[in-house]
């Protein structure tokens, strides 16, 4: 007879809620009549994410002493719970953004097909977020890999869901191929780590390294490197970022908005957890490795963004450079680094989602990819979205218009506390370079000469009314600006979350 482990169902509530909603949304794809399908699936999704937030907040409050559950395969602690709150919030905002999401092929084509895939889209979104909320709490290499695949597969399909959209299928395929490569690296690395330590739980690995003095073991070091590479693919840190610009550009912008925010949150939070709980014995190695990856991301992300014309590509490279910033926090390997990362992710997720949402709004009114040229004058035509974009961009650049400023300050402080003054200088120089491309978007929004504005207006036509999109952007704006003023409460949350990890 197989002994089943006792299950802490409460620890799984956010995941179960999201999975249940996903099933419901999927059923509505078949059962709900077409006119109601969009509204029904969207409501299920909104409700699901809202309950997910409530459940994970509850878990946060109720998990002050972190511990592993279900045969040591999942961690119930505040690091997980706060990550789940952020992920569900991003999911909620994405659900709003997707309400008006119309697959490109219905433009001028058959309007009857307009709602064909909307319920599947919501089902995938919910399933994907469920996978991520499981991922951030993974406590052994098996659940780590399982949940990684879980949310990745959902993402592959979401990228390709507008199969008539130019580039969408290509994006999905590219992500699938490169992502599988990353997963394979992670799996291989896990196998090596297991081989070296004889354990798959994070705690067991740490004990084994400590007890048997394995920190110089070649298998383990190789495994560590491969795990870092696999997670680097997901957080799109250089040099594992090659897929990022293409996929971000090709995927439907709604999906890009979601993945730029949520995937990064999940991947970085888990990177920190794995390194701190399982591989802390090798901190000497991975702090330097991560510092190297961070510098590479900052350099490559910022320099490559300078020459782009497509706004989604610019933002994609900017997300690479932000991965670099946040990895600085991880690489410090200190409690300050932990709360720096956790804090940074909050405004970052909001700004990144918001910026892509604004791009989505422009794309929906133009019907073509958004470039620096056809963004001209958008700020004056749609004042709210323009101002919001302005805040997001200056926030990305680390100017004090949003929490990005404090986030950068924190990660740089963590680097300095670790004794890496040189990393502070690198971060600062990267910020200086990044200003150029962020400002080039602001220039397009507001400062183009009149004649160019008229050209864009002809293409654009009358602006659409998109109340849900505005609400989503407004939420992102509120979080991104609010996190500048409410630093103390957020840092307290992040500190409690980080205290779940052994620093």
């Amino acid at each position: 007879m197989i002994r089943t482990p006792s299950i802490d169902w409460f620890a799984l509530t956010p995941i179960l809620i999201l999975l249940g909603s996903s099933g419901l949304a999927l059923l509505s794809a078949v059962l709900a009549p077409k006119p109601m399908r969009r509204a029904f699936a969207a409501s299920v999704s909104l409700l699901g994410f809202a309950s997910g937030i409530v459940a994970s907040v509850w878990l946060y409050v109720d998990s002050s002493a972190g511990h592993t559950v279900i045969a040591d395969s999942f961690t119930r602690d505040r690091w997980t719970a706060l990550g789940q709150v952020i992920l569900c919030a991003v999911g909620l905002a994405t659900s709003l953004l997707a309400i008006e999401h119309v697959p490109a092929w219905s433009r001028g084509a058959d309007p009857a097909r307009r709602d064909d895939h909307i319920a599947e889209f919501y089902a995938l979104l919910l399933a994907c977020t469920a996978g991520m909320t499981f991922f951030v709490g993974a406590a052994n290499l098996m659940t780590l890999f399982l949940s990684l695949e879980w949310f990745s597969i959902a993402l592959y399909v979401m990228c390709a869901i507008d199969y008539d959209l130019e580039g969408s299928l290509e994006a999905g395929l590219k992500y699938l191929v490169v992502g599988s490569f990353g997963s394979a690296a992670l799996l291989f690395g896990s196998a090596l780590v297991y081989g070296a330590t004889g354990s798959i739980t994070f705690d067991g690995i740490a004990q084994s390294i400590g007890a048997r003095g394995l920190d110089r073991n070649a298998l383990l070091v190789m495994g560590l490197a491969l795990i870092l590479a696999g997670l680097g693919f997901k957080s799109s840190a250089a040099p594992f970022h090659m897929w990022t610009p293409d996929v971000y550009e090709g995927a439907p912008t709604t999906v890009t908005a979601f993945m730029s925010a949520a995937t990064k949150v999940a991947a970085l939070l888990l990177t920190m957890r794995v390194l701190q709980t399982a591989l802390a014995g090798d901190a000497r190695l991975w702090t330097w490795a991560l510092a190297g990856i961070a510098v590479a991301s900052l350099v490559i992300g910022n320099l490559a963004a300078l020459v782009q014309r497509n706004v989604k590509r610019i933002l994609a490279y900017s997300s690479v450079s932000h991965a670099g910033f946040m990895l600085i926090g991880v690489s410090a390997g200190t409690a300050l680094g932990g709360r720096a990362l956790m804090y940074y992710l909050i405004p970052y997720a909001a700004m990144s989602f918001g910026a892509f949402a604004v791009v989505a709004a422009r794309e929906r009114e133009l019907g073509v990819p958004v470039t620096l040229d056809n963004l001209a004058g958008f700020g004056w035509e749609r004042p709210f979205l323009g101002v919001a974009m302005w805040f997001f961009l200056f926030g990305f650049a680390g100017l004090p218009l949003g929490g990005g400023f404090v986030g950068k300050f924190y990660v740089l402080a963590a680097a300095y506390e670790h004794g890496w003054a040189w990393l502070v200088i690198v971060g600062v120089l990267a910020t200086l370079v990044s200003l150029y491309y962020y400002l080039s978007i602001v220039r397009s929004l507001y400062m183009r000469p009149e004649e160019e504005l008229r050209v864009a207006a002809v293409v654009g036509g009358a602006p659409a009314r998109e109340a849900p999109l505005h609400v989503a952007v407004g939420m992102a704006l509120a979080v991104s600006v609010g996190s500048l003023f409410a630093v103390q409460p957020l840092i307290d949350l992040a500190r409690d979350a980080a205290s779940s990890l052994p620093f």
Binding site: F394, L399, P400, L401, V428, L429, M447, Q488, I491
Partner: protein, 484 residues
């Protein structure tokens, strides 16, 4: 109302008004009127604060402190010293005049424009009163954002190039300052400017100074200046040279000199050298400049050099003179840019070759330009004469040759300013000067005359500022005590 809240009100009232202007669907007229009223209210609040200020007391007054994020000891800490009081006064007065100018000429897209100008007011006041390094940095950067858009949207034909240069230059400096702030703050265990102990690190000093010399600017860090001053709308140029440039000099006075006493004296000769270079080189360029704004722009470079000379003399007279000269030059340069703007509206140009003979039939314009010009060239009895004299007397005690070069440069000031006056007002009538071009209108007079009146009052009683900038009689001991 609690008197200590006045400082915070001075920062947040204009920012709040900016938000209101952005959110409320006001008409063009109502937007401008609201903005001007708020800026006048700022002046009123400042007068109230100055009236309640105790000049005999040492240390920070009207201070407020609240935790921002406690784990790194960063707080929202604001307050004024006597010298910051004068700079805040300069800010609110100059901003009121510039906002009113924008209202008078009827800028396009009024809600965006006036909101940004008010935001700029709040951020600039914030820099002068922030007593926490990160807060100082936040306001320092927050100033840049509205300036960038104001130049980029409402500027002249070459505005895009000018904004890129301006932003890249200033951010290069301020980001180095950010790294210096992180290192200094974490080392001293607090980011509070009042509590942080002095440091002997030369690297940190250079990190801060780099930001300040770019902002001021001093030679050879002034590459952004001519383009920005020429391409910005005139009232924004006025703010840039009158107020924003003073932020760099204020930073030297508030942070670089008192917090880094040893590095400051180690690098004294180097700073005095680049300050002198700015003074002489700026004056020469102003003399060669072919247009009105060019002269004022380069003369600002020269004046920044002169003020830095006073600050880094390390002598009490130099500090007194520097504060007085910051205020005097701020008012002069604001008035000159506003007059330049009024003139460009009449002639479409600031080129001297196309101007001339404007005094004829335009007594108000001629009188005002002449008065400001004469005060600007430091004619004895004027406010800037008092400021320059104090600075030179201070730096003379350091070493006589600095004073000798400085005094020589003041002769150059007379040359470029008289050249400007004669090229615009006198000589043969220029090709763009039409007899129909009106004299200054009452609205324009209402902007510039108060500025000139304040200048004249300061000329009559320069000690009002120079003896009331540092508590007690010895600025040097105040600086040594880091103002506490």
């Amino acid at each position: 109302m609690n008197a200590t809240a006045l400082t915070s009100v001075l920062i947040w009232l204009p920012i709040g008004a900016a938000l209101a202007i952005w959110l409320l669907p006001l008409s063009r007229y109502a937007t401008g009127a609201l903005a001007v009223l708020v800026s006048l209210a700022e002046v009123g609040i400042w007068v109230e604060q100055a009236a309640r200020f105790d000049f005999a007391r040492h240390g920070l007054q009207f201070s407020e402190r609240a935790a921002w994020f406690g784990d790194l000891h960063v707080s929202y800490h604001v307050g004024v010293y006597a010298f910051s009081l004068w700079l805040v006064g300069l800010t609110v007065v100059a901003m009121a005049a510039c906002l009113a100018y924008g209202f008078w000429v009827g800028r396009d897209r009024p809600r965006a424009y006036f909101g940004l100008m008010l935001f700029l007011t709040g951020a600039t006041v914030g820099v002068f009163v922030a007593q926490d390094m990160l807060l100082f940095y936040a306001f320092f950067e927050a100033m840049l954002i509205p300036l960038y858009v104001l130049i980029g949207v409402w500027g002249g034909a070459g505005r895009l190039g000018a904004t890129v240069k301006f932003v890249i230059y200033t951010m290069a400096g301020s980001l180095l300052m950010l790294s210096a702030i992180i290192v200094y703050g974490l080392k001293s265990g607090t980011f509070d400017l009042v509590d942080a102990p002095p440091s002997a690190s030369r690297w940190l000093f250079l990190g801060f100074m780099f930001a300040f010399v770019i902002k001021a600017p001093l030679f050879p860090f002034h590459g952004w200046l001519p383009d920005a001053y020429r391409e910005a709308p005139p009232e924004v140029s006025a703010v840039l040279s009158g107020v924003v440039a003073k932020v760099g000099l204020y930073g030297m006075l508030r942070i670089a000199i008192p917090k880094f006493p040893d590095p400051a004296s180690y690098y004294r000769t180097a700073v005095l050298a680049i300050a002198t270079a700015a003074l002489v080189y700026g004056s020469l360029l102003a003399f060669r400049s072919a247009d009105f704004r060019g002269v004022v722009a380069y003369s600002s470079l020269a004046q920044s050099g002169l003020i830095a000379l006073g600050l880094f003399s390390g002598i009490g007279l130099g500090f007194d003179g520097a504060v007085l000269q910051m205020v005097a030059h701020g008012l002069i340069s604001t008035s000159l840019f506003l007059i330049a703007g009024a003139m460009e509206r009449r002639t479409t140009t600031g080129e001297f070759a196309l101007l001339g003979g404007m005094a004829k039939g335009r007594p108000a314009l001629a009188t005002l330009l002449m008065t400001v010009g004469v005060i600007s060239l430091a004619v004895p009895g004027s406010a800037s004469f008092a400021g320059e004299f104090l600075i030179l007397a201070g730096v003379f005690q350091r070493a006589w040759w600095w004073a000798a070069i400085g005094a020589g440069a003041i002769v150059l000031a007379a040359m470029y300013m008289l050249r400007l006056i004669s090229a615009v007002l006198h000589q043969a009538r220029g090709s763009t000067v039409d007899d129909a071009a009106l004299d200054l209108r009452p609205g324009e007079l209402a902007l510039v005359v108060p500025l000139v009146a304040v200048l004249l009052a300061l000329s009559a009683w320069p000690a009002g500022i120079s003896h009331h900038s540092f508590a007690g009689d010895s600025p040097v001991s105040a600086v040594k005590g880091q103002f506490k």
